[in-house]
Amino acid sequence: MTTRTSAIEVAGLRKSYGDHEVIAGVDLTVPEGTVYALLGPNGAGKTTAVRILSTLLPADAGEARVAGYDVRREADQVRASIGVTGQFSAVDELLTGRENLRLMADLGHLHRRRATTVVERLLERFDLVDAADRRAATYSGGMKRRLDLAMTLVAGPRLIFLDEPTTGLDPRSRRELWGIVRELVADGVTVFLTTQYLEEADQLADRIGVLDGGRLVAEGTAAELKRLVPGGHIELQVADSERVAELARQLPEAIPNAEALTVTLPHDGSLTALRRLLDGIDDDGAVTGLAVHTPDLDDVFLALTGHPTTDEVPS
């Protein structure tokens, strides 16, 4: 093993389908025990990247080491070190939840007694005890996703891949899954996840790679990415439309919205600018509220790729 501190090391990775280059030269490093989010719209190449790193797909060029092993030449060692939850459900629908987990335990070559303990513990942890003896075919989307993730964890991998783990889940299930990911991280597990949701990357990841058209167009912490897009805005809520017009005349940079009864002003985030703005507003009750918006990852994506994300940010 070359590096004990990098869970994933990728250099110059390329993959084409015909003359469509799906991964067009990607470099990235994921330190052990951290969460890396690959963020990108549909078709960006996220699944392809996960498939290459999880030994399912050979790359055309480049180096990829996972858990210290070469994904191509030492695929078996890589497989023994990782857990993968793919984009689409990978549970056996004819088996019950418990049988699915037991299948993973047997294939993970766990000893009988340990297998039973691990299965029961996972059923509890993933809130599947009541449904344990029902066929997975009868599970809801959220339950299937939980079972899917539980199956990935049976053998206790120290590095897991999650390909769009919350796509298609309702907000409650999504937040539950976030909680589970955070627990894993607290246990020291390295997580490589992909998502279309900017909020998800922001919530979970230590580092975010923005993937667009098979290229990493930006990489960094959420804060670093936000810094790439200078400035945010201040939004004033105003009592009535007359006051909106009045404020717009008074503040030269303001963008009035008579319908929403708001006035939006560009803002660089500094206290000085905020104080200057407040000094310029009469304190007569016309302004009923004020919100300072730092740029969010949506702004980042738009600025970096020239097009907005395809999906809405979940709330």
Binding site: R51, S54, T55, L56, L57, P58, D76, Q77, R79, A80, I82, G83, V84, G86, F88, S89, A90, V91, D92, E93, L94, L95, E99, L103, M104, D106, L107, G108, H109, R135, M151, T152, A155
Partner: protein
């Protein structure tokens, strides 16, 4: 544990999984067994009277003789029918995300397929027992010695093994379970274009040439000879030869497809 131990252990795990599938979804097994039984009853009771009389050297209305004549074809059909289920199960696995999960685990690669093959062979044994049972109830007569019975069972097992590997390949090559269910239908019907239901001598020239040379004919002839207690040595050798060829082609093809499919 060594690689071989893991291969055996993983195959056993996969076999358990497939047996559970069969138990959960018995209608499929019943349908696969029902198909050859239907042909058996149809041919004995509907066509048997007339067809039996047409066999060389047979008395008029020889239903029993016809039953004895077609039993090898029905056995062949039984093996082929079960393999439809195998192709469908394999194709279902391949179109489901679970196969990618298996591929990312440190398990013996071949175990996913051997699990299917072993499961199908158990299913075939069950189906053959039922078919033999019904045939004996209908009055099947055999002069086979214990050794010949043993040879018959061995040959059936070999055939089942070979056909299953071949249909595993078909299942892997199919884009979806529906397509997978169509291909092996050919094998169910192939005994008709062979020595399964009429003597090949009664066929028109072109068809007769095909019937004499297609692999199922010597296999069915070998079954017939063993049941009659007078197996022809060359038929048995041809039968074994064809089974080995079908099985080997099926195995190598399946292994290749399993490695490359979805990994493109």
């Amino acid at each position: 544990m060594s690689t071989t131990t893991y291969a055996v252990r993983d195959s056993a795990t996969m076999l358990r999984r497939n047996l559970k599938h069969m138990a959960r979804y018995p209608s499929q097994t019943l349908m696969l067994i029902g198909l050859p039984l239907l042909f058996l009853l149809l041919f004995v009771y509907v066509f048997g009277g007339t067809m039996g009389a047409g066999l060389p050297g047979a008395p008029a209305e020889d239903r029993g003789g016809y039953l004895t004549f077609i039993t090898p074809g029905i056995l062949m059909m039984t093996v082929a029918s079960v393999s439809i289920g195998t192709a469908v199960s394999v194709a279902t696995d391949m179109t489901n995300g679970i196969i990618d999960r298996f591929r990312t685990m440190a398990i013996a690669k071949v175990s996913v397929l051997t699990g299917h093959v072993l499961g199908a062979m158990i299913q075939t044994a069950l189906a053959l027992a039922v078919v033999f049972g019904v045939a004996f109830l209908l009055g099947l007569e055999t002069a086979a010695s214990a050794t010949q019975w043993l040879s018959l069972v061995g040959l059936l097992a070999l055939l089942s093994f070979a056909m299953t590997w071949f249909t595993v390949g078909l299942g892997l090559a199919s884009p979806n379970p529906e397509t997978a269910s169509n291909w092996p239908m050919i094998f169910v019907l192939l005994p008709f274009a062979g020595s399964g239901f009429v003597p090949v001598e009664s066929m028109p020239t072109g068809l007769r040439w095909f019937a004499e040379h297609q692999p199922f004919t010597p296999i069915m002839d070998a079954f017939r000879g063993l049941l009659a207690g007078s197996p022809g040595g060359s038929e048995v050798l041809w039968a074994i030869g064809w089974c080995v060829v079908i099985g080997l082609v099926g195995y190598l093809w399946s292994r290749r497809l399993y490695r490359t499919r979805a990994a493109n």
